[in-house]
């Protein structure tokens, strides 16, 4: 029978199918970080349970790390916040006690867990991947079945190497045509969420396909799958192709020689069969997608750059009106306002959504020879990993950012979730390349507008949301 990509990955990892509809799924790779793992290790210790397979696990600190070089250079002892220090120390202690491989904070390869996973080849096509973080959906870009899980499930996987799951339904999102210049994977993700809503993918694994997806780099596919969870889907997927194989070819943990040949044979089968049946399908014309900007407090509160904030009278019912009213109040916006009239105070380029080299290149291309607008009070670029940072520096991107008036930070999750000191002040408005515009997400009272890296850079130089080409023509560029 014709199978979807999800069906194939599910079948290849099915340990046990139970009569009640649940199944045990074998987990190939488990990524861990400091925030959602301590209670899981504690649970194992209390129950006296060992790890099922030590070698399946890789840990890295990212969520709660400082992104200031001075604080990083001093090691854990130099961290000013004692509670954070304990959390980071606990990851070290647990990895030592359970003999789990860890990329330490002072390692050049440290970074956001969803950036370093593929970068090291710790995540590969065809794998099942879990992590105690909802953005684990990122790894579906590799043609891997990747679930974000809670801490009880982290403990469950550590102890059993399995996840208890019910098979999800299949959802095909086809994006045809070719993206216009300045339109990116981030805009596709926001356009899809605009179409199906933040709960549209609940209970589904979403497979992104079509020519606009095939044309995306691995980085772009990661951005897209990363945001599947913002559409409600625990897993996003993209079929394996040459782009995938070329990306993984030389990764440190990728198979070599004969092993690669063997792996490639399996990986080449990782696509939905032509006649595969999906429970739900939508298609979008990629050439019609414009750059997107969120205006509200949920990723589905989004429109294109030439759009407007909706009016209360547009809402279908009282709950929706109430929701819109609350969002406008929180965001400090007027109904019907043009997106182009919104002026951010802060710029954040980073996060597991958009902190890879391609993202930094896109932002730097706009910022080159330009200055961040005077009304921007804070602007930072936080590379996704030490290797991304090193690559960006080798290309001179750090200089472009610094000369434009932006801060060039050390890798980590930073102001995407604002667990560390990188956060918005109450009322501050941020053009952010992250994934969530929830109330308080980037700091209590902070206001987030989600955009692509190029759009964040355009907002930085123009001082308001504008299309990239407009930012370039409006601002005096010193070409070099």
């Amino acid at each position: 029978m014709a199978q979807t990509l999800y069906d194939k990955l599910w079948e290849a990892h099915l340990v046990e199918q139970r009569e009640d509809g649940t199944a045990l799924i074998y987990i190939d790779r488990h990524l861990l970080h400091e925030v959602t793992s301590p209670q899981a290790f504690e649970g194992l210790t209390l129950a006296g349970r060992p790890l099922w397979r030590r070698n399946a696990n890789l840990a890295v600190p990212d969520h709660n790390v400082s992104t200031l070089k001075a604080e990083r250079d001093g090691g854990l002892a130099a961290l000013p916040d004692p509670i954070s220090r304990i959390q980071l120390q606990t990851l070290d202690d647990n990895c030592d006690a359970f003999d789990v491989a860890q990329i330490h904070l002072d390692d050049l390869r440290q970074g956001i867990v969803h950036v370093i996973g593929p970068e090291q080849g710790a995540v590969l096509p065809g794998m099942t991947v879990v992590c105690g973080d909802s953005h684990t959906s990122t790894h579906g870009a590799a043609g891997a079945l990747a679930h974000g899980i809670g801490t009880s499930e982290v403990e469950h996987v550590l102890a059993t190497q399995c996840l208890i799951q019910k098979k999800m339904k299949n959802f095909k999102v086809e994006v045809s045509g070719q993206l216009a210049a300045g339109v990116t994977a981030k805009d596709i993700a926001l356009a899809v969420i605009r179409e199906i809503g933040t709960a549209g993918g609940t209970g589904y694994a979403i497979e992104f396909c079509g020519s606009a997806i095939r044309d995306l780099s691995m980085e772009g596919r990661m951005t897209l799958c990363n945001m599947a969870i913002e559409a409600g889907a625990r897993c996003g997927l993209v079929a394996v192709d040459d782009v995938t194989l070329n990306y993984f070819k030389d990764k440190p943990l990728a198979p070599k020689g004969e092993q690669w040949q063997l792996a490639e044979m399996w990986w080449r089968t990782l696509h939905s069969d032509e006649k595969a049946v999906f429970d739900r399908s939508i298609s979008l014309d990629g050439s019609a997608i414009a750059p997107h900007v969120t205006w509200g407090t949920s990723p589905e509160m989004v429109t294109s750059i030439d759009g407007h904030v909706p009016r209360l009278s547009d809402m279908p019912d009282e709950t929706a009106r109430l929701g819109l009213k609350r969002a406008l109040e929180y965001m400090g916006l007027e109904e019907g306002m043009a997106i182009g009239d919104i002026r951010p105070d802060a710029i954040f380029i980073g996060s597991c959504t958009n902190s890879r080299i391609e993202d930094l290149r896109a932002a730097a291309a706009v910022l080159k020879g330009r200055r961040v607008s005077e009304n921007i009070r804070k602007a930072m670029v936080v590379p996704g990993s030490g290797l991304v940072k090193a690559q960006a520096e080798a290309e001179g991107l750090d200089k472009i950012f610094i000369e434009a008036g932006m801060e060039w930070r050390e890798p980590g999750c930073s102001m995407c979730l604002a667990m560390n000191a990188d956060r918005l002040l109450p009322g501050e408005r941020c053009a952010s390349t992250s994934n969530r515009n929830f109330e308080g997400r980037q700091g209590g009272g902070g206001r987030t507008h989600l955009v692509s890296p190029a759009m964040a850079a355009a907002a930085a130089v123009a001082g308001r949301f504008v299309p990239v080409e407009k930012a370039l023509s409006e601002t005096a560029g010193v070409s070099s």
């Binding site: 209670q39 065809g126 105690g132 403990e155 092993q259 308080g440």
Partner: protein
């Protein structure tokens, strides 16, 4: 895990859709390495008028008088009523821990986000999905009748309204069993250890590169 068989409790309404886990427990409290003690910081940004700080005494903080959890009539509530897509966003189980620690035993909404639903079940909290129209009825009744409570019975999967009306709900059979008996699902899965080992052996034979040393 505390078993859930039957629960009668006061209902508190939160009339909004897409209540995300950042709202349920803000990030600064995720620095804790403990599993307990999150209750006082449940809905911290909505519940208090000042900014919450981890490991601080919350008993003297100024309460937001407009937030339902602070209304005198809802004190002691153990059932939360909300709109669509409850628990969306971050996978933080701290959200379920905070709800459990606060004293919630159930959340009723038209729909739930997948990861929160799973986290809730694992912490003795029953997420109940009812039709949007039923949820709307409950919002009206909670508003009208002070002390409005519900009687939830997981054995026969019903919710009983004070006037005697009985609504049934659907729940995943496996999750229901675990909750009824307060079962530790790691223990349950380890009963399949032989099957897991057998699978692992053939998996390794088929995909040997997955079992290479991960040390970088």
């Amino acid at each position: 895990m505390r078993p859930f068989t039957r629960h009668q409790g006061l209902v508190v309404p939160m009339d909004r859709a897409n209540i995300d886990t950042d709202l349920i427990v803000p990030k600064q409290f995720l620095k804790s390495i403990r599993r307990s003690g999150f209750g006082p910081n449940l809905f911290d940004e909505l519940r208090y008028l000042d900014e919450g700080v981890p490991d601080a005494d919350n008993s003297h903080r100024p309460l937001n008088p407009d937030f339902p959890l602070n209304f005198p009539r809802y004190q002691g509530a153990s059932i939360l009523l909300a709109r669509e897509n409850f628990g969306c966003g971050s996978s933080r189980e701290h959200a379920a821990w905070a709800m459990e620690d606060f004293g919630f035993r159930s959340v009723i909404a038209p729909s739930f986000a997948d990861i929160f639903r799973s986290n809730a079940f694992k912490n003795g909290i029953l997420p109940i999905e009812l039709a949007a129209s039923q949820v709307q009825t409950l919002f009206q009744k909670v508003q009208e009748e002070e002390g409005f409570s519900l009687d939830i019975n997981l054995e026969d999967c019903t919710v009983r309204l004070p006037a005697g009306e009985i609504w049934s709900f659907e729940v995943d059979a496996f999750r229901r069993d675990c909750l009824l008996q307060g079962l530790d699902d790691i223990g349950l899965t380890l009963e399949s250890a032989t099957a897991i080992s057998a699978f692992e052996e053939q998996h390794q034979a088929r995909f040997p590169w997955l079992f290479e040393d991960i040390r970088l």
